[in-house]
C-alpha cells in the first residue's frame, strides 16, 4: 500500500531540526505521565528476573581464565599436566593450542582482531595463557592454581606522564615498538596566543584524574551451547548486534541466521566491559571447549576480574585560560595525556567548542600506553570534556571574583556563536526560542537558594565547625548524537494486543516502558495492550546504549512503526478483506475512508458516529483449527471475519553531531551542590544536590529522574573515593574489590532535587534528548568548585579525598 507515514519517517531520518510531525499534546495520554507501570518492575522486585549469571543449562561446565600476576610479562612455557589430572577438569585450552592461533573479532567498538588466549600480559590481572573448563567453578579455580608458568617479566610503566618520557619502559613493545605514544589529536579554533594577548587575566592550572571504573553488579559472563552445528549463546552484553557480527565470523563462518542469541536482563555495565576489544574471548574459548566436551560451557569472571579496565578520563590535564575582567573567556588551551584510552579517547576541549562563544580554543590529547587495563567509555566518554568545562569556568570565576553563574551565561553559545545567533537559528529550525541555560539556572538557583547561600571562598564556617561550600556547573546535553535501530510491531491474533519486536539489552533505564508509551499514544491503544520484551532476538536490533543515544533513535523508530501500523489498521478496516476464490468479505467500515475513523483506548471508531466501532480483537479475529486466521468455512456456515496480518517494520538512522558539528546544540543542563567540609578530618558531607536537566520532552519523567539521582550517586563516588590503586613497585592492583574500592551508599549523599525541564529543544521525537549519561558525567568535577568555595583552596586532583583536603588546608 502507499504509505504517507513511511514517507514522513524517511523524511525524519538524520533529523536536523525540531520534530516536524509531533503528536498533538491532547493525544498524549501516556507520554509524559508519571504513573505508567514499569514493564520490568515485578520481575526485578520479586527476584524472578533472570540474568546471564543465573543461567544453568543441563550438564554445563564452568570455565575460568588464568590471570597474570605481573603487569608486563611473556609466557615462555607452560606445564598444565597437574591441572589436567585434577578430577573434575574436563578441558584445557592453552595459548599454544592450534585453534587459537588466529586473531579474531572479539567485540569492541569496531572490529579489532585479537588473540583469544593471549601469550603476553600487558597489565596485572589480564586473562592470559590458558582457560580451563571443569565441573564446578571451584575445580576450575583449583586447576588454574596447578598450572605452572614460565614467565619472563618485562619492565613496566604505570603513569601516563612517565610513559611519554624518553627512556621509559615500553608498555607494549609487541604492537608499539617505537614508544608509548599511541596517537595525538588536536582540535580547536582561532588563535589561542592572540586570545591570551587580548586577555586581562591569564591563568594556568593542572588537574589529575586517576583510573576509576564501571563496577558491573553482574560480573562479565556467558554461556555457549552447540545445538548440533549451530550455537545458542547467552551473554551479558549491551550490544547484541555486535555479538552476532563477531560470532558469525568465527570458525570459518557461522551464518547469521543460525545464531540463537539471548541477551537477558543486564546487571549493568555502563559501557565499560561491553566495549573492550577482547570482551567476547570468553565466548570464543567456551565455544571451542563446548565442542570438545559435548557440554554447554559457562564462563565467568570474578569480582576482581571485573576491574579489567576503567574509564577513558584517566590522565593529566594542563590548562591555560585567558579572560576579560568581566568574565568573557577569550582563549583556552587544554593539553592532556590520557592513559590507555580506546578508540582515540575524547576531549579535552570539545564541549568548549560546542557550547560556548570562546573564540580561541586549542585542545590536544596525547594517548599514552601504560601497563594498566584498557580505558573505555564508562558513563560516559564525555567525562574529560565535562571535567574541562567545569574547571575552566569555575577557575575563571574564582580568579576574577565573579559569580560562576554569570560567567556561564556570559560565555554560553553554540559553536562560537552567541545566543542571539542561536535564537535566530532555533526559529529557522522550527524550535521554540527558549534560552535553555537561563531557564535551567533560574530553577536550580531557587532550589539550592544560591543568592542566599553563595559566599566568597573559604569564608563561611557553620556553627558545627564545618566549612560551607556551594558549587555550580553546567553543560549542553549530548545524548541525541548518533545511532541507528530497527523496530517492528505486530498485532497478535485473538486479542489484538500489540507486540513491539526489537532486540536490545535492558540496562535498567526503563526505556522499554517508554517505547510502549510512545506506541500506545501514537496508535491510540491502551498502554496495557502494548508490550515489549527486549531480550528476544527477532532479527531486529535497536540502537543500544552506545554513541550516547537511545530515545532519540529508538523513540523515532518506535514512532515510525506505530504510525505505519495505525495507517495500516485504518486501511485494513476500510478495504475489502480477504478476497478468496469463494468470495470476499466486506470491509468492517463500508463506505468509509481511513480519514473518517480514529482509534482511542484500543477501539477503532467512526468519528461522526462513535457507536460504529470495532475492537482490535474483532479486527484480528481468532485463530483456530484452520490456522492462525480462522474462517470457519470448512464445516460450518458461519464465516468469521479475519484481517490480513497486521505487521509493520521501521527504523531510524541518526548520522551524528560529533562529526563536524553539524547539529548545533541548544539544550542545557545545570547542577548545584551544597557541601560541608570538616577542617579537622577533611571529610566532605554532601548536604544537597540539585540537578536541572532540560530533556526537551520527558516521555517517562520517573525514568528521567532515575537517571538524575542515580547519576548523582555514581558521580559522588567518582568525586570522592573512586580510584583504582596500583602498587608502584610491583604494578599489582591493590583494591580490586568492593571493600577497598568504595562506591556510594544510600548514606553518602543528602537530598537530591531532580528538576526535569521540557523546552522541546532536542533533535529527537517530540523535541526530546536523552539523559542516561549526563548526570554521572557532570557531577564528579562539580565537587571541585564546591570544595573551593568551602575551603578557599583549589583541589584539582580527583578524587577529592579527605587526605587531599587536609593537604590543601596545610594540615598534613
Amino acid at each position: 500500500m502507499h504509505s504517507p507515514e513511511k514517507k514522513k519517517a524517511l523524511e525524519l531520518l538524520d533529523n536536523l531540526r525540531f520534530d516536524k510531525y509531533p503528536l498533538p499534546e491532547d493525544r498524549q495520554k501516556y507520554i509524559g505521565k508519571r504513573d505508567v507501570r514499569r514493564l520490568d518492575g515485578i520481575e526485578k522486585a520479586s527476584g524472578l528476573a533472570d540474568y546471564t549469571m543465573d543461567v544453568q543449562v543441563p550438564g554445563m561446565l564452568f570455565m575460568r581464565f588464568l590471570t597474570s600476576p605481573y603487569p608486563h610479562a611473556e609466557i615462555k612455557g607452560m606445564d598444565t599436566t597437574k591441572a589436567e589430572a585434577l578430577p573434575g577438569v574436563r578441558a584445557v585450552l592453552r595459548y599454544d593450542d592450534p585453534e587459537v592461533q588466529l586473531e579474531e573479532d572479539l567485540g569492541g567498538h569496531g572490529v579489532s582482531p585479537r588473540f583469544p588466549v593471549p601469550r603476553v600480559a600487558h597489565f596485572q590481572g589480564e586473562e592470559v595463557g590458558v582457560a580451563i573448563a571443569a565441573d564446578t567453578e571451584d575445580i576450575a579455580e583449583e586447576a588454574l592454581e596447578l598450572v605452572q608458568v614460565d614467565w619472563e617479566q618485562r619492565p613496566f610503566v604505570l603513569d601516563p606522564h612517565e610513559a611519554l618520557k624518553p627512556g621509559a619502559p615500553l608498555a607494549n613493545p609487541d604492537d608499539f615498538p617505537d614508544g608509548n605514544l599511541e596517537e595525538e589529536f588536536e582540535s580547536g579554533r582561532g588563535d589561542v596566543e592572540k586570545g591570551f594577548g587580548e586577555s586581562d587575566v591569564v591563568l594556568e592550572f593542572k588537574s589529575k584524574r586517576l583510573q576509576h571504573t564501571y563496577i558491573s553488579p553482574e560480573r562479565p559472563c556467558g554461556v555457549w551451547r552447540w545445538n548440533g552445528e549451530y550455537p545458542e549463546v547467552w551473554l551479558k552484553q549491551q550490544r547484541p548486534h555486535i555479538v552476532k557480527r563477531a560470532v558469525s565470523s568465527w570458525f570459518g563462518g557461522i551464518p547469521m541466521n543460525r545464531i540463537q542469541l539471548h541477551i537477558l536482563y543486564q546487571g549493568a555495565s555502563f559501557g565499560g566491559w561491553s566495549q573492550f576489544g577482547w570482551n567476547l574471548a570468553g565466548h570464543y574459548c567456551a565455544a571451542i571447549l563446548a565442542r570438545r566436551t559435548l557440554r554447554a560451557v559457562k564462563w565467568t569472571f570474578t569480582r576482581r576480574e571485573d576491574f579489567y579496565g576503567g574509564s577513558m578520563d584517566e590522565g593529566v590535564h594542563q590548562y591555560k585560560v585567558g579572560a576579560k575582567k568581566d568574565g568573557t573567556i577569550l582563549a583556552v588551551k587544554g593539553e592532556t595525556v590520557y592513559a590507555n584510552p580506546m578508540w582515540g579517547g575524547q576531549g579535552p576541549t570539545l564541549h568548549l567548542e560546542e557550547c560556548t562563544t570562546i573564540p580561541h580554543i586549542y585542545g590536544k590529547r596525547s594517548l599514552a600506553l601504560v601497563n594498566k587495563g584498557p580505558n573505555t567509555a564508562v558513563r560516559c566518554e564525555q567525562l574529560p570534556n565535562c571535567h574541562t568545562l567545569t574547571l575552566v569556568f569555575d577557575h575563571v570565576a574564582a580568579e576574577l571574583g565573579l559569580d560562576p553563574i554569570e560567567v556561564a551565561l556570559k560565555n554560553d553559545g553554540v559553536h562560537g556563536h552567541d545566543m542571539a545567533w542561536a535564537k535566530k537559528e532555533k526559529k529557522e529550525m522550527g524550535f521554540p526560542e527558549t534560552d535553555s541555560l537561563r531557564e535551567c539556572i533560574k530553577k536550580g538557583k531557587a532550589s539550592i537558594e544560591w543568592d542566599k547561600k553563595h559566599h566568597q571562598p573559604g569564608t563561611k564556617r557553620l556553627p558545627n565547625g564545618r566549612l560551607h561550600g556551594l558549587g555550580f556547573t553546567w553543560n549542553h546535553e549530548w545524548e541525541d548524537s548518533a545511532g541507528s535501530g530497527e523496530i517492528a510491531m505486530r498485532l497478535e491474533r485473538n486479542d489484538g494486543t500489540l507486540n513491539i519486536l526489537g532486540m536490545r539489552c535492558d540496562n535498567g533505564v526503563n526505556a522499554e516502558t517508554a517505547y510502549c508509551q510512545i506506541a500506545a499514544d501514537e496508535i491510540g491503544m491502551k498502554i496495557e495492550d502494548v508490550f515489549y520484551r527486549p531480550q528476544v532476538d527477532p532479527g531486529f536490533f535497536t540502537m543500544t546504549p552506545d554513541s550516547s543515544t537511545n530515545m532519540s533513535v529508538n523513540g523515532f523508530a518506535v514512532r515510525h512503526a506505530a504510525r505505519m501500523l495505525k495507517e495500516k489498521v485504518l486501511d485494513a478496516v476500510t478495504s475489502d478483506r480477504a478476497v478468496t476464490q469463494r468470495g470476499s468479505y466486506p470491509p468492517f467500515f463500508p463506505d468509509m475512508t481511513p480519514d473518517d475513523l480514529d482509534i482511542k483506548d484500543s477501539v477503532i471508531y467512526a468519528k461522526k458516529d462513535p457507536s460504529k466501532k470495532l475492537t482490535f480483537a474483532e479486527l484480528v479475529g481468532p485463530s483456530g483449527d484452520e490456522g492462525p486466521m480462522a474462517f470457519y468455512e470448512l464445516y460450518g456456515t458461519e464465516r468469521t471475519p479475519f484481517s490480513e496480518p497486521l505487521f509493520t517494520h521501521s527504523y531510524h538512522v541518526q548520522v551524528g553531531a560529533y562529526k563536524g558539528g553539524i547539529r548545533p546544540r541548544f539544550i542545557r543542563q545545570a547542577h548545584f551542590m551544597e557541601i560541608e567540609v570538616c577542617p579537622d578530618t577533611g571529610e566532605i558531607t554532601i548536604v544537597k544536590v540539585v540537578n536541572v536537566n532540560d530533556v526537551g520532552k520527558a516521555i517517562n519523567p520517573m525514568a528521567c529522574e532515575g537517571q538524575m539521582y542515580g547519576g548523582t550517586y555514581m558521580g559522588v563516588g567518582r568525586a570522592m573515593w573512586e580510584e583504582v590503586v596500583h602498587d608502584p613497585v610491583t604494578g599489582v592492583m591493590l583494591n580490586g574489590n568492593l571493600l577497598d574500592y568504595k562506591i556510594a551508599t544510600i548514606e553518602d549523599c543528602g537530598p537530591i532535587d531532580t528538576i526535569v525541564m521540557e523546552s522541546r529543544l532536542g533533535f529527537g521525537p517530540y523535541g526530546l534528548t536523552g539523559i542516561g549519561e549526563d548526570v554521572s558525567t557532570m557531577i564528579p568535577a562539580l565537587m571541585g568548585p564546591a570544595v573551593y568555595n568551602a575551603i578557599g583552596v583549589w583541589i584539582d586532583d580527583y578524587p577529592i579525598t579527605p587526605e587531599r583536603v587536609l593537604k590543601a588546608l596545610g594540615k598534613i
Binding site: 507501570r37 514499569r38 520490568d40 518492575g41 515485578i42 520481575e43 526485578k44 522486585a45 520479586s46 527476584g47 524472578l48 528476573a49 533472570d50 540474568y51 549469571m53 543465573d54 544453568q56 571451584d138 563496577i215 558491573s216 553488579p217 553482574e218 560480573r219 536482563y265 543486564q266 546487571g267 549493568a268 555502563f270 570474578t302 569480582r303 535492558d506 540496562n507 535498567g508 533505564v509 526503563n510 520517573m702 525514568a703 529522574e705 532515575g706 539521582y709 542515580g710 547519576g711 548523582t712 550517586y713 555514581m714 574489590n737 568492593l738 571493600l739 562506591i743 556510594a744 551508599t745 544510600i746 548514606e747 549523599c749 537530598p751 537530591i752 554521572s776
Partner: protein, 193 residues
C-alpha cells in the same frame, strides 16, 4: 571395643544388641536422625531436606542448587548486600553463610516475599526502586526484615538499615519512599494474600 555408635546421641556400645535396646528405650518416637551433611531448611514456607557439601554457601545452595535466583552474587565477599536473605527473622548475607550450618533454620528470599503478597513489592515497582535490578532482591529482603522488626521506621532508620546494600545505578532515594508506603499499608492491615 565400642564399635557401635548410636545415630541419635552418639553413645558408644560394644554389642549391637545393647545399642538396639538403648535405641528402643531412649529414642522411640524421635524422628530418624539425619545422615552427615543432610540439613533441613524451611525456605519460603516449604520444607526441604537436602544433602549439602561442607564448603557450600547458603547462596550456592539457594541460587545454584535450588534454583531460586533472587539472592545475587555481586561483590563476592559480604560487601554489597545483594545476596541478602532473611534467616530466622534477621537479614543475613547468604554468600557469607555456610549451608551446612543452617540446619533447622527458616529462610525467606525475595521470591517468597513477593509470593506472600507483601506490599513492599508493589511499592518498589511504583517508586522505580530498580534500574538494572540486579541488587533489588537484596534491598527487598533487607527492607522486609526491617519492617518485621520495626513496623513504623523513621526515614533515618531506613537509610541506616539499607547502608550495607550497594546499588551501582543509584536508586537509593526511592527506597525509603517505597518502604514508608509499604509500612503504611501494613499498618492498615492491608498487606499480604
Amino acid at each position: 571395643m565400642n564399635k557401635y555408635l548410636c545415630p541419635y546421641c552418639s553413645t558408644k556400645f560394644e554389642a549391637f544388641e545393647d545399642l538396639k535396646a538403648h535405641a528402643l528405650a531412649e529414642h522411640t518416637g524421635e524422628p530418624a536422625p539425619l545422615p552427615e551433611g543432610m540439613i533441613r531448611l524451611t525456605l519460603n514456607g516449604d520444607e526441604y531436606q537436602i544433602q549439602v557439601q561442607p564448603e557450600w554457601t547458603l547462596n550456592y545452595l539457594i541460587h545454584d542448587k535450588l534454583g531460586l535466583t533472587s539472592p545475587k552474587m555481586f561483590c563476592d565477599r559480604g560487601a554489597c548486600g545483594s545476596c541478602t536473605v532473611i534467616m530466622n527473622g534477621r537479614s543475613i548475607l547468604s554468600c557469607m553463610t555456610l549451608a551446612i550450618e543452617c540446619d533447622g533454620n527458616i529462610v525467606e528470599t525475595a521470591e517468597g516475599i513477593a509470593d506472600a503478597g507483601h506490599p513492599l513489592v508493589e511499592a518498589y515497582v511504583k517508586h522505580h526502586c530498580m534500574q538494572c535490578g540486579y541488587c533489588t532482591p537484596g534491598f527487598i529482603t533487607t527492607a522486609k526484615a526491617l519492617l518485621d522488626k520495626n513496623p513504623d521506621p523513621e526515614e533515618e532508620e531506613i537509610r541506616e538499615a539499607l547502608g550495607g546494600n550497594l546499588c551501582r545505578c543509584g536508586t537509593y532515594p526511592q527506597h525509603p519512599k517505597a518502604i514508608l508506603e509499604a509500612a503504611e499499608i501494613l499498618a492498615q492491615g492491608k498487606g499480604g494474600k
